[in-house]
């Protein structure tokens, strides 16, 4: 299966801008399905970005983050061709990891 994580990391020389889009339902636990039953909460809790063996960004999310979450940040350093490792884990223990090349 293709990765749930899509990342674009672009280096401008001094800083690297990272945009990530993750496929995930991010069910809040407050929404009902067609039959009127509550859909149990299912959401990403932690998302980490690692560059050169060091965390450059960490997100702790609650169920109020939108479906198929998007996040953007920038960090100093990072060259074209460097690896950026992205991982998430959700409240059911599922997880995914991908490595992107900085462009």
């Amino acid at each position: 299966m293709a990765s749930t994580i899509r990342v674009r990391a672009t280096s401008s020389g001094e800083t690297t801008e990272v945009q990530a889009l993750i496929q995930h339902p991010m069910d809040s636990g407050y929404v009902k399905d067609a039959k009127g039953d509550l859909i149990p909460p299912h959401f990403i809790q932690q998302l980490t970005f690692e560059h050169d063996g060091k965390n450059v960004f960490l997100a702790d999310w609650g169920p109020a983050v939108s479906k198929d979450p998007y996040v953007k940040f920038s960090f100093k350093g990072g060259k074209k061709g460097d690896d950026l490792k992205i991982s998430w884990v959700d409240n059911k223990g599922a997880s995914d990891t991908t490595t992107a090349k900085i462009q």
Binding site: M26, Q45, F57, D60, W61, G62, V65, F73, F75
Partner: protein, 164 residues
Amino acid sequence: MTTTHDGFPATRRLMLKGAASVALIGLGNLPFSVAPAFAAANDKYPEDAFKQKSDADAVKALYGKTAEPSDKVKMDAPEIAENGAVVPISVSSTLENVTSISILVAENPNALAAFYLIPAGTLPSVANRLKMAKTTNVIAIVEAGGKLYSTAKEVKVTVGGCGG
């Protein structure tokens, strides 16, 4: 530690141990109260803070202190969000030594929406998309140099994004 009084060192050690564990419990309740606590928050998901209903309680559970309003915290949020399920919100700051950014939606079922740890070298700026149940204040909190700074903005929601 040597002494001729039998039992005395043991008692003393126990007392010290007791004091140490009390101190540790105290820190556990206020994970952000000391400067290096940023490392403690590194890998631990702040479950408790996400469970709080009100924004004030969530901030207390997350940081153990309150924030003061500051114009050095900038938030970009729409005046009117037609779809409460996807409200684009970005937060940035001109403050130095920013260690974290959190975003709260005051009248969501649970106020805390997202918490971002900003390690040294990462810019104090983040953009994301949040759900909003109804028209309410969105609050951004920036932790810099161990202090909390906040800004708030009301976003009008036409269709709520938390189901119902």
